[in-house]
């Protein structure tokens, strides 16, 4: 069972619908024990960093999410669910985030229109079962004003160009996250959810040796 974390994110229902559409078994929850028992954790997200962190704190889900990540449970973060993995974001005058990966989320330079909104190419930098069946440079749907820099970081799974080259997908061990919205990205996005769900289905709780 995949836990889709419910903390008031605007795209919760779209993410839920997409996962159900590909046949994933999910529960939408903010209950720590349900998140703890899950074989996969999905963190949706849209909007501003400070709001997102406040929502997570208010729902009381941060310890459960971090425990799941530490226990090797497959994690999928969407949009703000990627950004909050970093140490901090420049948004809202500086917002402390979860610090799962090093680095700081920054605003796009004003040389192009912000937000970056629309379909853009995702260049896979690593081979991953999460990209199985998804062609190199497939288009995904983006809506965001802040981005994670690349900076030669080891966790960069895919990059996208929009005035700068930024991290459009992140992968470190069991932690995967996308800046784009797979739930609005047509067949490519649904494939990604199916890939994640399959991976989560292979994970057995409290078995840290599984992928």
């Amino acid at each position: 069972m995949i836990a889709v974390v419910d903390y008031g994110a605007g795209n919760l229902h779209s993410v839920e619908r997409a996962l159900r559409h590909v046949g994933a078994e999910i529960t939408v929850t903010h209950d720590a024990s349900e998140i703890g028992d899950a074989t996969g954790v999905v963190l949706p997200g849209v909007g501003a960093a400070a709001d997102t962190m406040r929502g997570l704190d208010r729902a009381g889900v941060v310890p459960a999410i971090l425990d799941a990540i530490d226990a090797g449970v497959p994690y999928l973060g969407i949009c703000m669910g990627l950004q909050v993995l970093y140490e901090a974001s420049d948004e809202d005058g500086g917002t402390a985030c979860l610090g799962v990966v090093p680095g700081r989320v920054v605003r796009f330079p004003p040389s192009q229109h912000v937000p970056h909104m629309g379909w853009n190419q995702v260049r896979q930098q690593v081979e991953s079962p999460l990209f199985a069946g998804i062609p190199q440079d497939a288009n995904f749907y983006f809506v965001h004003s802040y981005h994670a820099p690349v900076d030669g970081a080891a966790h960069v799974a895919a990059t996208t160009d929009y005035s700068v080259t930024f991290t459009s997908a992140l992968l470190r061990d069991n932690v995967f996250a996308t800046q784009f919205h797979p739930e609005k990205s047509g067949a490519a996005g649904l494939r990604l959810y199916a890939n994640f769900a399959r991976l989560a289905g292979q994970h057995h709780p409290r078995d840290d040796a599984s992928p």
Partner: protein, 280 residues
């Protein structure tokens, strides 16, 4: 690089898709949910639904429809028509719309744009402008009209677009009432004028009759996206063919449709109308 977008528009009346020459005789063009699924399969980048009844009852039907479409179609959905306040907008976003498009209400009360953008973000707020060419001044200009052209406002469409962006609109849909429904081509002068005046994406609307018209709107008109209704509804041209030809003309387009695969590894949806051969 951001791709240019092809956006089919569905005019919805009492839960059915209708289309004629706009604001006159309507022809029933089918079930919106089925059409939406077909457009998605053909490679539509986004879908726009306009409630052309725009009554309170129409909005309820529209909400149900958006929810049904959002359960089957996983590309951005925009809903417009009769949204008069932030609560109307919220109702559509909650039921699965990505963006809301406001027209008459925003021209009568521009503050609605600001309120919507503050509450939901600029990326959610599309300002739709119906405009008609006027030649009664030294230079030609476009007047904002309401109620499908029946109500002139005296407002200059380019100024209204600029003001709308200042208030928080994240995108402009420029609909030429002169060209709408004619299938004789978009109003390219109007598109250029608005694209040069605002920093946000502009969607060309009104007049599509051929792939060449769409190419002109995106190249000569400088629009970021092209919206069309009847040429897609009546299968005069498939979206897939439009995009293939625009790629050949050098425009960046999203061209990676392939079969949706479920957790089980089996294909899901793409099952209606004989299915899709599936390209990887």
């Amino acid at each position: 690089m951001l791709t240019r977008r092809i956006i089919p528009c569905l005019d919805v009346k009492n839960g059915r898709n209708v289309r004629g020459v706009k604001f006159s005789a309507d022809v029933d063009a089918g079930d919106p949910v089925e059409l939406a699924a077909r457009y998605d399969r053909e490679g539509a980048d986004e879908l726009v639904f306009y409630d052309i009844t725009a009554s309170a009852e129409g909005r309820d039907i529209m909400g149900d429809l958006v929810e049904r479409v959002a359960s089957e179609v996983f590309i951005p959905l925009t809903v417009g028509g009769g949204l008069r306040n932030a609560d109307d907008m919220y109702a559509m976003l909650r039921r699965g719309a990505e963006k809301v498009s406001i027209n008459s209400a925003a021209h009568r009360d521009p503050d609605l744009i600001r309120i919507g953008a503050d509450r939901f973000g600029s990326q959610c707020i599309v300002l739709s402008i119906d405009a008609q060419l006027r030649n009664d001044r030294a230079a030609p200009w476009w007047e904002v009209v309401l109620d499908g052209g029946r109500t002139p406002t005296g407002l200059d469409a380019i100024e209204v677009a600029q003001r709308g962006v200042e208030l928080g609109a994240g995108e402009i849909v420029m609909n030429s009432i002169d060209a709408d429904g004619t299938r004789a081509g978009y109003d390219l002068d109007q598109l250029r004028a608005v694209c040069d005046a605002v920093p946000v994406p502009v969607v060309a609307s009104g007049g599509a009759g051929s792939i060449e018209h769409i190419r002109q709107a995106l190249v000569e008109g400088r629009a970021h996206a092209a919206l069309a209704a009847s040429i897609f509804h009546f299968k005069m041209i498939s979206i897939e063919r439009v995009k293939r030809e625009l790629v050949a003309a050098g425009l960046p387009m999203r061209m990676d449709p392939f079969e949706t695969v479920a957790v089980s590894g089996q294909p899901v949806r793409h099952s209606r109308e004989g299915g899709n051969p599936g390209r990887a």
